[in-house]
């Protein structure tokens, strides 16, 4: 039995076995507080058990050189893990294509653009799309939405969730047996319940929530997306000490990057634009300065191309720079070749 090979104390092992947890997979999706209650142990011990479980499941074969550097993984393992990663669809096929499938997990993606271009709309679309069940090609996860500006409207999230479900049922045949079970999960209320929404009114609250996220994500292991809309707003209020602002922002971005790797989720930060005087003219650039621009793994700029909305990948370690047009419709973010049957074009 796999439990007997876990590096845990014998008393806890016997408690696990007596409660019926005989295999590692039975422990894969339990929250620490539930396990602590089940086994009548302290919360820290339950966290230790689950950590031992996840360590064992990631080290597949015995000849990994753990003795050299603990926690080291071979590049081959990393590659196969990366190729197995699912991506979060943005709703627009062209944009998904240039992103290499969608928004990547374990990475921090920054999305910036002028007001009204659709940043919040993209954020809500991602929070809905991350919940698409695995059987339909999604991640089946939940989302944390941290709103600093007040642009998130629950009724818009309702519309977008409706549009997403409508398109899924349109695309997949509804009478096959394996889809019947997860069709019940395709309810708008389930999608709304799967978004954990926080409203932040100052930069201290923003720092506090991000510090608290580690606890929250440990409790809710099925969160696969954290969105902050926008990360900038409370930091543009004229800090007298710019160096401190840079330090605080650097700390935030490091913490978010660590969370994304630790919990295998995607972090999406929405940013505002400002103008910068370069090469003798004013150019549009993302806010928060030059040092912040190094903090994120990927950068997407949303901009107007005449009367059309476009997304441009400015920075990415895995895909080349490219541009794709998209629409904001009544059903959410869509590509320009989507079915226009019921779309209201914005």
């Amino acid at each position: 039995m796999e439990i007997s090979n876990l590096p845990i104390s014998p008393s806890i092992r016997s408690k696990l076995l007596s409660k019926g947890y005989t295999s590692l997979s039975s422990l894969s999706s339990i929250s620490p507080s539930f396990l602590a209650q089940e086994l009548s142990v302290k919360l820290e011990e339950a966290v230790e058990v689950l950590r031992a479980v996840s360590d064992t499941t990631t080290s597949k074969s015995a000849h990994i050189p753990y003795g050299i550097i603990p926690g080291a993984v071979t590049a081959w393992d990393m590659l196969s893990e990366e190729q197995m990663q699912r991506h979060i669809s943005t709703g627009c096929e062209d944009l998904d294509a240039i992103l290499g499938g969608g928004i990547h997990c374990k990475e921090v993606t920054e999305v910036g653009g002028v007001p009204g271009i659709g940043k919040t709309q993209l954020g809500i679309q991602l929070a809905v799309n991350v919940q698409i069940p695995v059987e339909y090609g999604g991640l089946g996860g939940k989302a944390v939405y941290i709103d600093t500006e007040g642009s998130f409207m629950a009724e818009r999230a309702y519309q977008i969730a409706e549009g997403c479900i409508y398109d899924i049922l349109d695309k997949f045949p509804s009478n096959s047996r394996e889809f019947l079970s997860c069709k019940e999960r395709l309810q708008v209320n389930n999608f709304l319940a799967g978004i954990f929404y926080f409203r932040i009114c100052s930069y201290t609250e923003q720092i506090a929530v991000i510090n608290y996220l580690e606890n929250f994500l440990t409790e809710h292991g099925d969160v696969k997306l954290v969105i902050i809309d926008s990360v900038t707003f409370h930091f543009r209020q004229d800090f007298d000490d710019l160096a401190q602002r840079t330090r605080v922002l650097g700390g935030l971005s490091l913490r978010l990057m660590k969370l994304s790797k630790m919990f295998n989720l995607a972090v999406v930060l929405l940013n505002q634009v400002t103008t910068k005087f370069t090469d003798g003219s004013f150019q549009l650039t993302l806010a928060l300065g030059d040092s912040w621009s190094h903090s994120c793994t990927n950068r997407i700029i949303l901009h107007w191309n005449g009367n059309e909305r476009c997304a441009y990948i400015e920075k990415s370690p895995s895909v080349p720079s490219a541009s794709a047009p998209y629409l904001v419709t009544g059903k959410g973010i869509r590509g320009i070749n989507s079915n226009f049957k019921r779309a209201r074009i914005m």
Binding site: P115, M153, N211, Y212, R236, F282, L284, W304
Partner: protein, 322 residues
């Protein structure tokens, strides 16, 4: 000095959406633990009607509670008239699209006070006996003064409904005039001005969000050059399709930074057109076509409708009837 919030740091982010209640403080755990707000509790989202069903329909019910809306336009396009209409609308009960609340109007100066009172008293308010009792007016002569007024308004938000309707609407008419006098055009002052934009917007949004209120500001417009003058920050072609008024390309004042501060932007425009041509080819009559456009909003797409300004208020026009 770093900007600090009015509320103590232990306030949780769980706020009740009921307009009449004070936000509950979460019972203390051993550390700060914010509670996520369940989205079901935010539906349906309360809105403040614009006082006319057609205009309110343009905004899917009206101005959403908890957000900051900007109404921009040239002079004499009807911004102040629309604001007065909102002040009266807020007194109505929620079933009629109001907030059952008092409102606060902040102006750059109270000099045109008698004409303001006249306009307010002329507006019809059949459902409320004495609307002027619940409309507060104040003047702010600088952005710092405006911030001070907003902090003072906090106690008005907390009023219990049995004593008087609590404050649930703040209108600033106009924000551009309050900011104009204060700052010079050198670089240091421009940075300070941008910082003040965000402070004012953050304070208004925080009050709107915590108390289920609506914040409205009006703004002026500036002329912009055409897209041929690329690279010039003065032109706003990167903000999307152009806004036209009186045949000129215009953009709301205070630039890109201020545009990042508001949730909803409404643009009022006017265009004088020739309505009819006489027998000999001379123009017979000129009419003013007024248009209200939603430039961006969190809950509705970009759309517009025509409206007229009458003695009894601002009313939208149904396109079919024309």
């Amino acid at each position: 000095m770093l900007f600090s919030t009015v509320a103590p740091a232990s306030t949780s982010t769980s706020t009740s959406r009921d307009a009449d209640s004070i936000p509950q403080h979460h019972p203390a755990r051993d550390q700060f633990a914010p509670i996520p707000i369940p989205l079901r509790s935010l539906l349906p989202h309360s809105k403040l009607s614009l006082g006319c069903p057609i205009l309110s329909r343009l905004l899917s019910g009206g101005l959403p509670v908890g957000t900051l809306t900007e109404i921009s336009g040239e002079s004499a396009t009807g911004k102040s008239q629309l604001c007065l209409q909102l002040l009266l609308s807020s007194l109505l009960p929620p079933c009629l699209g109001g907030l059952a609340a008092s409102s606060l109007l902040i102006l750059p100066s109270l000099l045109p006070f008698s004409s303001l009172l006249k306009r307010l008293s002329r507006l019809p308010s059949p459902l409320h006996p004495s609307p002027l009792d619940h409309i507060f007016v104040a003047s702010a002569h600088s952005p710092d003064h405006l911030m001070m007024l907003l902090y003072q308004a906090d106690r008005l938000f907390h009023k219990s409904p049995s004593l008087m309707p609590p404050l649930r609407l703040i209108v600033v008419d106009s924000i551009a005039a309050i900011f104009r006098s204060e700052f010079d055009n050198n670089f240091g002052d421009l940075k300070a001005r941008t910082g003040m934009f965000f402070r004012v917007a953050a304070k208004l949004k925080e009050q709107a969000s915590r108390f289920g209120a609506v914040a409205v500001v009006t703004n002026q417009v500036v002329d912009v050059m055409g897209p041929e003058m690329a690279g010039d920050v003065g032109n706003n072609h990167h903000m999307g399709p152009a806004l036209l008024s009186s045949g000129r390309m215009v953009a709301p004042a205070m630039g890109l930074s201020w545009a990042n501060c508001v949730n909803t932007r409404i643009f009022l425009s006017r265009n004088d057109e020739m309505a009819a041509v006489g027998v000999n080819g001379e123009d017979m009559a000129a009419c003013t076509r007024r248009s209200m456009e939603v430039v961006f909003a969190p809950h509705v797409p970009r759309s517009s409708c025509e409206f007229v300004i009458r003695k009894d208020g601002v009313f939208g026009l149904d396109i079919e009837r024309q």
